[in-house]
């Protein structure tokens, strides 16, 4: 596998792992919620930028740690670092169509 191919493979593994990390209040995974801003792979390093729906969220300490643990479990030979970022702030516009549907999003509002 080429270097680029390996990086993409690791990225896919990371995204799949993140897709299994659920927000326990909303019942949706962090990818569908639009909380994962970026996953960068550089050799054995995987860097993830993630946000939360609001600063001081009850799961603000737990959810990022769970996400990082999930990626570590999925790609055990990689150096995983997860950074919680607040810029740009999360807005409902980042919700995936599936998430909007599951949340009963009302387009009128």
């Amino acid at each position: 596998m080429t270097t680029a191919g390996a990086a993409e493979h690791h990225r896919q593994l990371a995204m799949t792992a993140l897709g299994n990390v659920w927000d326990p209040e909303l019942g949706l995974d962090v990818v569908s919620l639009g909380l994962v801003y970026d996953v960068r792979v550089d050799g054995d390093d995987i860097a993830i930028d993630m946000t939360l729906t609001t600063p001081g969220c009850p799961v603000s300490e737990q959810l990022p740690a769970e996400a990082e643990a999930a990626v570590r479990a999925a790609v055990p030979d990689a150096n995983v670092t997860l950074r919680v970022v607040w810029d740009p702030p999360w807005t409902p516009e980042l919700l995936s169509p599936l998430a909007l549907q599951r949340l009963g999003f009302n387009p009128r509002s």
């Binding site: 659920w22 209040e25 001081g56 969220c57 737990q62 643990a69 909007l100 009302n106 509002s109």
Partner: protein, 435 residues
């Protein structure tokens, strides 16, 4: 596997407060039932005063202090000064609530004095302990509101201590206005501002609502904090212009709080659910309270009728706060229990799906709790309004049922998940679960 964060206290701290608060709600309903005839006869009789203290201290203050001991470290991102201090606060609050209530109901007066001393020491301990997370500079509106509300808690207790010893020494007459100043400091200054401040954080989060401008909440906290001392002073020294100025300011602040609720509901990205039922029912009681208070202040009424309207106002304020506390407990307790379960490696619900907050209580029982609490408070308020001890007693029974339902439901849900996980075969591991 990640578990509890570094800043929050052990789950047993907030859950201990909230469990005691649940028992307090159950007991409050029973006390309303037992004291119904005395409450209706005159809201300042010993039985009525005892019932109000069970509601405000054993239920509301105990539960709210528990929530604040969890919420302030999360929002301020700083830990409590002492976990042991938090546990002592719980013990002291439970002791103070029941010493005071028993003393008011049955005597001797030394019980009231002992309760006042224990209560004041407990509140000072809580204020010191919470000053750690509340020193955060980036805590925003919720932390700013909590600083004010804790100040009002200390002021309320200071009034209470003086009044408790006045009962023995007779320094001054405990006129209804003076009692009301104390009651309003506790209900609106301490509990009211706490709820308004916490709601500004929790509502947008739980309703997934991003508002373009969210100034109503800040106005609500500012106006409540500014108006409350003026209203209390007006009631204390029987100065109607002062009381009016403070009252109008406080009511405007409460109006801003309701505007904030409306904007959150309008901008929500989630369908309305159980919590919103509690919150909206709670808001209706706030409107009733304001209406009753205004009618008592404006109306040309006989003293007994005015006293009854004021009692309706106080009961409706208790309903406003009570429904809000029970509703938010259905979010807070599952969150805390979830964190504790995840720390133990529990990742799935009995259904085999990822563990969610909603797996940690029975939705049917929660809806029954909402129905019982709303009906109970409504019937109780009606009973006071029409001076019917039987109606008030029926309301008390329903309130008591709601306390029992909420406590049992929220305590048994996490246990059910935990027991199910204990029975899971060792080989049946899920991703992320600690072997």
């Amino acid at each position: 596997v990640p578990g509890a964060g570094a800043t929050v206290p052990p789950a047993s701290v907030p859950l201990g407060f909230l469990a005691a608060g649940g028992v307090g709600l159950w007991a409050f309903g029973l006390v309303v039932w037992f004291a119904a005839d005395r409450v209706v006869a005159a809201p300042t009789t010993s039985g009525a005063v005892s019932a109000v203290h069970v509601g405000v201290l054993a239920f509301l203050t105990t539960a709210v202090l528990g929530a604040v001991h969890q919420f302030a470290p999360v929002v301020g991102r700083r830990p409590l000064r002492s976990v042991t201090g938090a546990r002592l606060t719980l013990a002291g609050m439970v002791a103070a609530a029941w010493l005071l209530s028993s003393g008011f109901a049955h005597g001797p007066e030394t019980l009231v004095a002992a309760g006042a001393v224990v209560g004041s020491l407990t509140v000072l301990l809580a204020a010191w302990n919470l000053s750690g997370p509340m020193a955060a500079r980036d805590g925003g509106l919720p932390v700013a509101g909590l600083r004010l509300s804790i100040g009002f808690l200390v002021a309320t207790v200071a009034f209470g201590v003086v009044y408790a010893f006045d009962r023995q020494t007779g320094w001054f007459l405990l006129l209804p206005g003076r009692v009301l100043a104390h009651a309003h400091l506790g209900l609106l200054g301490w509990l009211g501002i706490t709820y308004v401040a916490v709601a500004e954080k929790l509502w947008p989060m739980f309703l997934l609502a991003h508002r373009p401008r969210a100034r109503a909440g800040a106005w609500a906290i500012g106006l409540l904090a500014a108006g409350k001392p003026v209203l209390a002073a007006g009631l204390l020294v029987a100065a109607p212009p002062l009381a009016w100025l403070g009252g109008v300011t406080v009511v405007t602040g409460l109006g801003c709080h309701l505007v904030s609720l409306v904007t959150v509901v309008r901008h929500r990205r989630r369908p309305l659910e159980l919590l919103h039922g509690f919150v909206i029912a709670s808001a209706v009681f706030l409107v009733v309270a304001v209406g009753a208070g205004a009618a008592a202040a404006i109306g040309d009424l006989a003293p007994a009728d005015r006293a009854r309207l004021v009692a309706v106002e106080v009961a409706a304020l208790l309903a406003w706060l009570g429904l809000a506390v029970v509703g938010h407990a259905h979010k807070i307790v599952p969150f805390i229990a979830y964190t504790a379960l995840r720390a133990r490696g529990v990742a799935t619900a009995p259904s085999g799906k990822p563990l969610l907050f909603s797996d940690l209580f029975h939705p049917g029982l929660a809806r029954a709790t909402l129905a019982a609490a709303t009906t109970g408070f409504a019937v109780a308020v009606l009973g006071i309004l029409v001076a019917s001890p039987t109606t008030l007693a029926a309301g008390g029974v329903a309130i008591s049922v709601s306390g029992a339902l909420a406590t049992i439901n929220l305590a048994s849900g996490p246990r059910r998940v935990s027991r199910h996980d204990d029975r899971r075969p060792e080989t049946d591991l899920v991703p992320g679960r600690t072997p």
